[in-house]
């Protein structure tokens, strides 16, 4: 309206000027007084129009205000009106939003199911040893489901149940396990007490072992063979973290049982890398108890500290020590003293931008084994007094779009399942080709219990919760273990 009025005024002024000029040109003899009269007349008309225009402007202002008010009312009606709300995404209900002062801290659960949480994760492998393709295997390695229950703001129960290798029965290799079963009770913002069966806070992987959380189809060897992930014990701990980024965890738990050790396996305990990881051949894998009728005559204690006060950086260390249930004493040769198992580790992870760099060192020791090992001469599998492993890994996100992400990585690791022995010079490994399994005609070489492994591959995240992986692993010592792997993992 305002715009068209201005145009009209301009038109009138132009018309007046034109008619005045035209009049002058048509009749030069016309007295000046008549021209002046005409101009004055037009000028008066112009003044009148200006006045009218101002009047219109004044009327327009309240109308604009009314329009704003109407818009606000319409918006409010939209928020309240069910018919409109049905067509719109109501992210927030205006009626349910009183000023903050009047809000409770959170809605309280109104039914049993509000307090329950469910989650799960799992992974499928395809492992193809490149030198021995006949040993290629595919496996639903684990399917895990978790159930949690919140009793109140300070008391929470969490549990995880795992089926390994898809089928668990007397004639299958699979197992059904309770992986975690604990109650947390929070004492303050930086201290919580936990009791039950829980994961030991060691390394980068043990507590965070979902397939989306690590690079490569399978977990690294160091955090499988030296730190026996998924490592859990029964007991209780106190843990927390501070605003400065210092995490702490201290606990008393069950420990290891050396009486489960097998000094005289009939065949090598593993002839592929997959079997090395799965067959409980490593010292702490062979002797952990998992709270299954655990020998608790001795308890162990641990301390774990971490620092993540600088965004992107995590460093940590942990030590676990406790007397183990002893190796059965040979006849007429009692074993004096205790057999103490001590494991410690240090780790760091740094994620500057698209890089993800990590390194870890872990070392284990078992004391007082001279008599036990000496009473089993010629064993291909004596108990080591020391074992260790370390790795360095680098990953880089080369492409990310929407929920997709591709992160290639490379990892170098070294491990020894027996770097020092007491009462023996080490494993007495049979030489040459020999039967390596109960399968008739299955001949091969006995593996050595140490290796250097290069792993190169990539994680392809379909979503942050679904990952497809591929890698190639090259073994320096047990060269027959070199393999190509594919994997599918998920968690929710």
């Amino acid at each position: 309206m305002t715009h068209s009025s201005k145009s009209g005024v301009k038109f009138l002024i132009a018309a007046a000027a034109l008619s005045a000029a035209a009049g002058a040109a048509a009749d030069p003899s016309t007295p000046p007084t008549a021209e002046q009269q005409l101009i004055e007349q037009l000028s008066r008309q112009l003044q009148d129009m200006k006045a009218q225009l101002n009047e219109l402007k004044a009327q327009n202002q309240p109308m604009a205000q009314q329009l704003q008010d109407l818009k606000a009312e319409v918006n409010q009606l939209r928020a309240q009106g069910p018919s409109v709300a049905q067509q719109q995404q109501v992210v927030q209900s205006v009626q349910a939003a009183p000023p903050p002062q009047a809000l409770a801290t959170s809605a309280r659960a109104s039914s049993l199911f509000d307090n329950l949480s469910l989650w799960g994760y799992g992974e499928v492998y395809y492992n193809r040893p490149i030198h021995e393709p006949s040993r290629t295997q595919a496996d639903l390695a684990r399917a895990v489901f978790g159930i949690g229950y919140t009793f109140d703001d300070r008391t929470v129960f969490n549990s995880e149940y795992e089926v390994e290798h898809a089928v668990s029965s007397a004639s299958d290799a699979g197992e059904f396990e309770v992986e975690q079963f604990y109650v947390d009770h929070q004492l303050s913002n930086w201290a919580t007490v936990r009791g039950g069966l829980f994961l030991i806070p060691f390394g980068l992987l043990n507590e965070h072992h979902e397939p989306t959380a690590f690079y490569g189809v399978q977990r690294n060897f160091v955090e499988t063979l030296i730190i026996p992930s998924t490592w859990r014990e029964g007991g209780f701990n106190f843990h927390g973290n501070t605003d400065l980024g210092i995490g702490w965890n201290v606990g008393v738990t069950t420990g290891f049982d050396l009486s489960k050790w097998n000094y005289s396996p009939e065949y090598p305990q593993y002839v592929t890398a997959l079997e090395l990881e799965d067959n409980d051949a490593a010292p702490l894998q062979a002797t952990h108890q998992e709270l299954s009728l655990s020998n608790a005559s001795h308890l162990a204690e641990y301390v774990a500290l971490s620092y993540n006060g600088v965004p992107g950086l995590t460093v940590g260390t942990a030590i676990f020590t406790g007397n183990a249930a002893k190796v059965p004493a040979p006849p007429n040769a009692p074993i004096p003293g205790n057999q103490r198992v001590t494991l410690w580790e240090a780790h760091a992870r740094w994620t500057p931008g698209k890089f993800d760099l990590s390194a870890l060192y872990a070392h284990g020791a078992i004391a007082n084994l001279a008599v036990a090992n000496a009473s089993n001469p010629g064993s291909p599998n004596p108990i080591p007094s020391a074992f260790y492993g370390y790795y360095a890994q680098g990953a880089y996100t080369i492409w990310q779009n929407d929920t997709y992400r591709v992160s290639p990585f490379v990892r170098w690791e070294r491990y020894s399942l027996g770097s020092r022995y007491e009462g023996t010079s080490g494993p007495d490994i049979p030489q040459g080709e020999l039967p390596i399994s109960a399968t008739p005609g299955d001949y091969g070489f006995y593996p050595v219990n140490h290796d250097r492994v290069w792993t190169t591959g990539a994680n392809f995240y379909v979503t942050p919760h679904v990952v497809v992986k591929a890698d190639y692993q090259s073994f320096g010592d047990n060269k027959n273990f070199s393999r190509f792997d594919l994997g599918l993992g998920l968690n929710f």
Binding site: Q89, Q92, S188, F238
Partner: protein, 177 residues
């Protein structure tokens, strides 16, 4: 030391250094409001998205909008939001302020319920969001550093902040200037 005496020692030591407090509630909404915008008066703001705006926000952030978790208030020169995201499998409630210049001012964790990952409460991690605005790249690994062991909480909180900035830019700013 016998196993029993060791069992008793830990709780005794810990109880003496831990004062009882509210569990996972770092702040109430009222405390967050006081800490983040002071005593300035606020009015609740209805956040109603048209289907087009919903689509715009979802495309913008690569996340899906869900009903019912977001609450917002407006003071003279900023918006105060309270929202919740899933951490690993439980909700994390957080508050954030966005100034009239469209820049994120502060983020605070109000309640954390997970057994793992509470490191996201670290003030230095939360400070990474300050100053960011709609259009900035905000992803874990791109603009926001990860916390090892709290990856999902980091990712989901970052998505939550992306959504707030997008809702501010696509809905609140056009409506209120």
């Amino acid at each position: 030391m016998t196993p029993l005496s060791r069992l008793l020692l830990l709780p005794v030591v810990t109880m003496t250094v831990c004062a009882p407090a509210q569990a996972t509630v770092y702040m109430t909404v009222a405390q967050a409001q006081k800490a983040m915008i002071g005593d300035r008066p606020v009015t609740p703001v209805p956040i109603v998205l048209t289907p087009e705006q919903t689509l715009a926000v979802e495309r913008d952030t690569g996340t899906r909008l869900v009903d019912g978790t977001l609450r917002a208030w407006k003071s003279d020169d900023e918006y105060f939001f309270v929202d919740a995201v899933i951490g690993k499998h439980d909700l994390i409630t957080y508050a954030a302020t966005i100034g009239s210049d469209g820049k994120l001012r502060k983020v605070e964790i109000l309640e954390y319920r997970e057994a793992y990952g509470s490191e996201v409460h670290n003030p230095r991690w939360l400070a990474q969001f300050t100053g960011h605005q709609h259009g900035d790249t905000l992803r874990v690994g791109e603009g926001i550093q990860n916390i090892s062991g709290a990856t999902l909480s980091c990712q989901h909180l970052t998505e939550g902040i992306r959504r707030l900035l997008s809702i501010y830019a696509n809905v609140l700013k056009p409506a209120n200037g």
